[in-house]
């Protein structure tokens, strides 16, 4: 029986809703809206004054406990460095791998901190970029007391003491760094890749991967035009946007990736991609045919940073742990597992010493670490690396649409 031709059925389905029901629904919605008509309060914080910072820290004492929130796989499984910390200072730790994405973490932290509640963590790790800027601007990060960070002062590399996104290391000190460069599949790409223009080469049409993150892709767009992202203006962003749009319209880009580019490059689905050094290093250890290069025009350096969130229960203990991680032997233990770029240059020498006395598998592994430019970039590499563009809130609202309209179209 054909439903639509049954007159009784048609009568049934074309009865209008009763007016009473319609009013009821409208009434409910109006009430709900009225209830919720308040806005979300702004939280803009002024930059910290030196005296208030000193005053804050003078009131804090050591509590004997610290809660450390970090990204997964950023600490050896046996928690060696943390155990050593407890042995050295008597402070117990709680370690939670709860951070997966800066945006997601900030999205969760914002409502909590905005309501004036503590996150429950004493140390968190965030990458430099938009979300970290927001943490500073909203007063969500406690300014550090550098008088209690002697190891940092003594052992951190010079470049890690001057970072454009946190002048004077007011709120953060680096944890691990990485580079964004070009990864390519050596089975499919026979040329030596040295220039950033390789990513824009029509020869690789449909085989190029770019990153979806606006800051990452903007940097590469600008570097390809010879512009320094750290000192760029709106006009520069638009120029970069046009270059990236042309790249997309020419069909060169296969996809804008979040982090799965490395799988794609390894498998050969794409042949070249914007890539993070640590990812490539991992795959090389697994014997996959990928190479990493920092383009001669430049690449990006990003840093995951340690900071103390507002409302932290144990700030002094947090500070002590942060400083402890800058002891060269501890930094070495950490880096041996994490395999990104450590902010403590002395680690390379330590690895060399350990490699000299080690044997067999362990010796090979350590030597691989020591000689890898992905873990210990050369001076020449460092000179080419740039940070992300620093943006005010107003600038963000111009910057983001330029690049998102390319990656999210």
């Amino acid at each position: 029986m054909d439903h639509l031709r049954n007159p009784a059925l048609l009568r049934g389905v074309t009865q209008p809703r009763t007016r009473r029901e319609a009013f009821r629904i409208a009434g409910l919605s109006a009430a709900a809206l009225a209830l919720a008509a308040c806005g979300v309060q702004g939280q803009k914080a002024a930059p910290p004054k030196a005296d208030s910072v000193k005053e804050f820290w003078s009131k804090q004492t050591k509590h004997g406990k610290v809660v450390f929130a970090n990204w997964p796989e950023y600490m050896p499984e046996d928690k060696g460095p943390l155990e050593a910390f407890t042995k050295a200072t008597g402070i117990s730790y709680e370690y939670k791998e709860v951070i997966n994405e800066n945006a997601e973490f900030f999205g969760k932290a914002d409502p909590v901190l905005r309501a004036g509640q503590p996150l429950g963590y004493d140390i968190v790790v965030m990458t430099n970029g938009v979300q970290l800027q927001h943490m500073f601007e909203l007063g969500y990060a406690i300014p550090l007391d550098h008088s209690q960070l002697p190891n940092f002062a003594a052992n951190a590399g010079a470049k890690y003491k001057e970072r454009s996104y946190d002048p004077g290391n007011t709120y953060t000190i680096p944890y691990m760094s990485g580079m964004t460069g070009i990864a390519y599949n050596t089975k499919h790409v026979k040329d030596d890749i040295t220039s950033i223009e390789a990513l824009f080469d029509p020869k690789y049409k449909g085989r190029v991967g770019m990153m979806a993150d606006a800051q990452e892709i903007a940097n590469f767009g600008m570097i390809a035009l010879g512009i320094d992202p750290e000192n760029s203006t709106e006009a520069d962003w638009r120029k970069a946007g046009e270059k990236l749009k042309a790249q997309r319209d020419a069909g060169i880009v296969r996809k804008y990736y979040d982090q799965s580019y490395i799988d794609a490059v390894s498998k050969g689905d794409i042949w070249l991609s914007m890539a993070w050094s640590g990812d490539v290093f991992q795959r090389q250890l697994a014997g996959e045919p990928v190479e990493f290069v920092v383009p001669q025009e430049g690449g990006t350096i990003w840093t995951d940073n340690l900071l103390i969130p507002k409302g932290a229960a144990n700030p002094v203990d947090a500070l002590m742990l942060m400083d402890f991680l800058y002891r060269p032997d501890i930094a070495a233990e950490l880096d041996e597992y994490v395999q990104f770029v450590t902010p403590v240059p002395a680690v390379q020498d330590l690895f060399k010493e350990q490699a000299a006395t080690a044997k067999g598998e362990e010796k090979k592994a350590l030597e691989a670490l020591v000689s890898s430019p992905l873990m210990f970039p050369s001076e020449a590499d460092y000179a080419k690396l740039r940070s992300y563009t620093k943006l005010t809130t107003a600038q963000e609202q111009v910057f983001n649409p330029i690049f998102q309209s390319i990656t999210q179209a």
Partner: protein
């Protein structure tokens, strides 16, 4: 007491939905009409223009999402209905075993499943690499990073949500009815079309509701399996909310999406005459 029965039955769910859905939704509706930014704060300005702006900026992605969701739903219906039919009528005592087996892969991490698909469908992997080496496919053939992959991914991931409700309503049909119809109509397909299919409509409607709606809003398949030009509205909402911290736009987009889906489902319900079928069956 009898008259109170439906209210008592519905009460716990009402409370759950009222507290955990209605209140947050109302707050979100309020946010969708505000202006400002995360640093300086948002203020209620009843700016309905948020909706207009969001719609005009992202109309492509909205339409695309509905198309992808629709295609996936049709695919799921075509693929899933026969499975539900067979299990309901011929599954015998092991019906729930089959259902369980259908759902079992989904108890295992989505990430692992997706990575495994990425491995299987790699341009030069186990499947395509072999076919290419036999010359059966052109060298630059690829499935990943295409629209087809996204729709296929949506179909794959939501298929059990189509099969189970259809099964649930089909299983109710007495096989003897079908046999009687066959004796009278003398054709299997006619028996199916005129007896079984109409009786399964509540299940079909439920299946479409539970697949079309989430598939259209899904961000993950587009993110993982799509290439350029496959971005769906779920991805946009994610970016607006998490990266741009543009809560009003994200909220406005969510409500717009919900409204569009509601209209779609409503039209579908009317076309099927499901409302009336549901009522008629309940008498």
């Amino acid at each position: 007491m009898r008259r109170l029965t439906p209210y008592l039955l519905a009460l716990p769910s009402w409370m759950w939905l009222a507290i955990f859905l209605v209140v947050p939704m109302a707050a979100m509706a309020s946010v969708s009409l505000q202006t400002g930014n995360a640093i300086d704060g948002f203020a209620m300005t009843f700016s309905f223009s948020n909706y207009a702006d969001a719609l005009s900026t992202y109309s492509t992605q909205l339409v695309r999402s509905i198309v992808y969701g629709g295609l996936a739903t049709v695919a799921m219906l075509l693929i899933g209905y026969p499975v539900a039919y067979w299990i309901a009528f011929k599954g015998g005592r092991r019906k729930s075993v089959y259902l369980f087996l259908l759902l079992l892969p989904f108890f295992v991490s989505f990430v692992l499943r997706t990575i495994s698909w990425g491995f299987l469908l790699a341009d030069n992997g186990i499947l395509f690499g072999t076919l290419k080496s036999w010359g059966a496919l052109p060298a630059d053939f690829h499935v990943l990073a295409t629209t087809f992959a996204v729709v296929a991914g949506l179909t794959y991931n939501w298929l059990p949500f189509m099969i189970l409700p259809i099964y649930v309503s089909l299983e109710r049909v007495d096989p003897r009815t079908v046999e009687a119809a066959q004796d009278l109509y003398a054709s299997r397909t006619a028996a199916f079309r005129r007896v079984v299919l109409p009786l399964s409509l509540p299940g079909v409607f439920a299946g479409v509701l539970m697949t079309f709606v989430p598939a259209t809003a899904d961000p993950v398949n587009a993110q993982v399996l799509g290439g350029t030009g496959n971005t769906m509205i779920g991805n946009i909402i994610q970016i607006e909310y998490l990266t741009n911290l543009d809560y009003p736009t994200a909220s406005a987009l969510s409500f717009t999406l919900m409204a569009l889906l509601l209209v779609g489902i409503f039209i579908y319900a009317k076309a099927l005459g499901t409302e009336n079928v549901l009522e008629a069956a309940a008498r």
